[in-house]
């Protein structure tokens, strides 16, 4: 096999912090190469160096035997390296065709040739095996589709190296399948595809070789078939993670939360379940199955048409998160950056946000109490932080998620709903979050966990509700729920009653 890209002994520091410290990576023509590592291992910095956002301090990158020109996104593009980010940033007001060709629209006679641009875009999408109406604007496109547009753009640039940074994090399994097919098409066309993911099953399904990074350096490169999942995890964390999802046995008590026949037109229909004290209740389903919509409605963020929600026997009113909170409900939202945290604000104010009323004396928030409260929770959740008054932006994803958890636990809820609790969190912190949830259940909290990561739901939950297209299709006990059964129900391969 011919090597396309070689990175040797790459280093990069940011103000004294070594983000890259001896990275070696070789990419071959026609391979899908997994780049693995915990958050903070240096993957992003490496990708950004390839994208032209950063330049290396030392070390070399060669592309097709020639030195790779660094430090300009335009130069990276021109040399045939394309990076597809987890959440692509398209131009929402421009057509799909123009999004593909932006800045390089096909011209004839010195002016943009729209019909040629549209037909070339159609051809690109067709070569990826998808059919898009290229004249529609990119506004409202799903993340999966946006990624496809980015890939088409990469192809139009004749990219030979296509880097996908956690492309599947926000995709449903159908969309993941489609993306995999696209990646395999790229591979068969001779591109080198770099695939970054926290989901090891995907890596085994798709990739031929893997390079594992830890603390800014490469730990090793090997064919994927030579490694087991456990070996990869060991390489990533440098220690044994005996159990990824430690579920502690908890005493299950009386019913705390009752959801009766909840319906919201166009969103979900006839959802009923109850959650008991000390129970972890999982909701599984594909993205778009209505999982998040149901919990949003329960918490009162979105309205619903029919049905009712009871907490400890009393009715949770419609559309009022603040009343739901007072009754003892808490919701850790899906997107912590957007919905969960005030990013520029300090850890202390973020933690205290839900209980500000208790900290007010004579119309003024007492800063001392705020910090004390935040510190107590930080200790309980083993938050890694330098200063309780520094902004949450500086924390890693996993620690940010702990702050969101702290903020809601501070309300002393009876039922804690967590939506995608570990999205984009590294393996180590992930199992810590799981242990926390498990411990709290043991202490008598009821937890509702919504996740698109099946191992997470399966590993954590006492019972699992499976949703498909807005309806509940199965309610499984822990021992009944194996991956095949849940996926079967979620995709409609198995039909529930």
């Amino acid at each position: 096999m011919k090597s396309i890209l070689e990175i040797r002994a790459a280093t990069k520091s940011f103000g004294g912090v070594k983000a890259l410290n001896g990275v070696n990576l070789t990419l071959y023509q026609g391979e899908i190469h997994a780049l693995l590592g915990e958050n903070g291992a240096g993957k992003s910095t490496l990708l950004k160096s390839l994208a032209g956002v950063h330049s290396l301090d030392s070390g070399s990158i060669t592309l097709f035997g020639k030195p790779f020109v660094q430090g300009s996104t335009r130069a990276s593009q021109d040399q045939g390296v394309a990076v597809i980010y987890q959440e692509p940033s398209l131009f929402p007001d421009l057509s799909l065709a123009e999004n593909v060709f932006v800045g390089r629209q096909p011209q004839s006679g010195g002016v943009v040739d729209w019909s040629r641009m549209n037909s070339e875009a159609e051809d690109l999408f067709a070569s990826l095996g998808v059919t898009f109406q290229v004249s529609r604007t990119a506004r409202g496109l799903s993340i999966a589709d946006q990624q496809i547009v980015e890939i088409a753009k990469a192809l139009s640039l004749k990219a030979q190296v296509i880097v996908m940074d956690e492309p599947t994090a926000a995709l449903s399994s159908k969309e993941v399948d489609r993306l995999f097919n696209v990646a395999r098409t790229l591979k068969s066309q001779g591109c080198a595809v770099v695939f970054v993911s926290h989901r090891l099953e995907e890596v085994f399904a798709l990739c031929q070789r893997t390079t594992v990074m830890r603390d800014g350096a490469t730990v090793g490169t090997a064919p994927i078939s030579d490694l087991s999942q456990a070996e990869i995890i060991r390489m990533m964390v440098g220690r044994e993670v005996s159990e990824l999802f430690p579920k502690l046995p908890a005493e299950i008590g009386d019913v705390v939360l009752e959801v009766k026949n909840l319906s919201s037109s166009g969103q979900f229909e006839g959802v009923s379940f109850d959650v008991r004290k000390g129970e972890i209740f999982g909701i599984a389903g594909l993205v778009g199955s209505g999982r998040s919509e149901v919990v949003r409605a329960i918490f009162g963020i979105d309205r619903y048409d029919r049905g009712e929600v009871l907490l400890g026997g009393s009715r949770v009113p419609h559309s009022s998160p603040s009343k739901a909170m007072k009754l003892g409900l808490a919701l850790v939202p899906e997107d912590r950056r957007l919905q969960g945290l005030l990013m520029p604000s300090p850890i202390s104010s973020n933690t205290a946000l839900t209980v500000l009323e208790n900290l007010v004396r004579r119309f003024v928030i007492r800063k001392k109490d705020e910090s004390a409260l935040a510190k107590t929770w930080a200790e309980k959740l083993q938050l890694k932080y330098a200063d309780i008054e520094s902004s949450v932006e500086r924390l890693s994803g996993g620690n940010q998620q702990k702050v969101v958890l702290a903020k809601w636990l501070a309300t002393q809820p009876k039922v804690l709903i967590v939506d995608e609790p570990t999205r984009g969190i590294d393996v180590g912190t992930k199992s810590e979050v799981h242990r926390l949830l498990s411990q709290m259940a043991q202490d008598g909290l009821s937890v509702v966990i919504v996740s698109s990561e099946l191992p997470e739901v399966l590993g954590m939950s006492d019972r699992i509700l499976v949703m498909r297209e807005g309806r509940q299709v199965a309610l499984l006990d822990r021992h009944q729920a194996d991956p095949e059964v849940v996926i079967g129900y979620a995709t409609g391969a198995l039909v529930g009653k």
Partner: protein, 316 residues
């Protein structure tokens, strides 16, 4: 088609008013609308360049007033028409370049920068034009003629604006550099990442807006046959109103010069309709305001109507 609602508005107001008061259907009234709208329409065309980039240029009212004065003043001192037009263009371009430099290269917000240049240019204008008024005898003969004559029933001033609009429309649709403006307005971060020279584009767009606004001083002088330090006062808001009503989104990324001109026509038409229907003039301003809110409401509705969905493969 984002221009469709405003086009329908233009037709409905015209036909509706005409049915209530047939005078509205006479060529004289039509001409009044088109003659009267020329200045705002031309400035709206110019303004579109910056608004699609998610920027704004408030200095155009001062610029157009100042250049209309300069054209009259200099030509009365014996300068040729070409020379005075070049000065108008140059003054506009200079103000545009100042705006563009501060916004593109120093990263200052255009709202504040152009508010500042609005005052600065008006201040210079007050000093230069202290106590002077441009009267008909000082207006270049050619401009005077353009203001008085018609091509069939269309005022030459309106014809000039239409020619400019079509030219600008072609550029906005067909030139890569102009397409970059839409990309910048739609997603400034991404524009940088795909290698668009964002700062240079912003700079040049401000220069273009300024230059065209400076040139609009000629249209203004041709229309009013006079100019004073009060000329063009407050016009910038009417121009922005025309753009917004015409579907040039203040959030950037969409809209066309055709829409901007239609927006200007609609505002002018309503002004005359209110007169023709005997409605107190107070309502004209209130109606303008209502129209702006409707336009923004429609804009928001259109952009949120398309909900996130997967086109192909798995979808709900």
């Amino acid at each position: 088609m984002r221009e469709l609602p405003v086009f329908l508005g233009v037709v409905i107001v015209y036909v509706g008013t005409g049915l209530l008061n047939p005078i509205f259907f006479t060529p004289a009234v039509l001409n009044d609308i088109l003659f009267g709208v020329a200045i705002v329409a031309m400035l709206a065309v110019a303004q579109t360049f910056v608004i699609v980039m998610r920027h704004i240029d408030l200095s155009v009212g001062s610029v157009v007033g100042f250049t209309s004065f300069l054209i009259g003043d200099l030509s009365s001192k014996g300068f040729s028409l070409i020379a005075v037009l070049a000065v108008a263009l140059g003054v506009g371009a200079l103000v545009g370049a100042t705006n563009g430099f501060l916004v593109a290269y120093l990263g200052l917000p255009s709202l504040v920068v152009t508010l500042a240049t609005l005052y600065i240019v008006r201040g210079i204008f007050n000093e230069v034009g202290k106590g002077q008024t441009i009267v008909e005898s000082m207006v270049p003969r050619e401009l005077n003629w353009l203001g008085l004559n018609h091509l069939y029933i269309f005022s030459y001033l309106f014809v000039i604006v239409i020619v400019l609009m079509v030219a600008a429309g072609l550029v906005m649709r067909r030139a890569r550099a102009a397409r970059d403006l839409y990309a910048i307005g739609s997603n400034p971060q991404a524009a940088k990442l795909v290698g668009i020279p964002v700062a240079r584009r912003i700079f040049l767009a401000f220069v273009a807006t300024g230059a065209l606004s400076g040139l609009a001083g000629a249209v203004m002088l041709a229309r009013f046959n006079s100019a004073s330090t009060q000329s063009g006062l407050g016009l910038e808001l009417l121009v922005i109103a025309a753009c917004v009503v015409g579907g040039v989104s203040i959030a950037g990324g969409t809209g066309s010069v055709y829409g901007a001109v239609l927006g200007a026509v609609l505002l002018q038409e309503i002004l005359l309709a209110i007169g023709a229907l005997g409605i107190p003039q107070f309502w004209q301003l209130a109606v303008n305001g209502t129209l702006i809110i409707c336009a923004i409401g429609l804009d928001r509705y259109l952009s949120t109507r398309t909900k996130a969905s997967t086109i192909m493969g798995y979808s709900k």
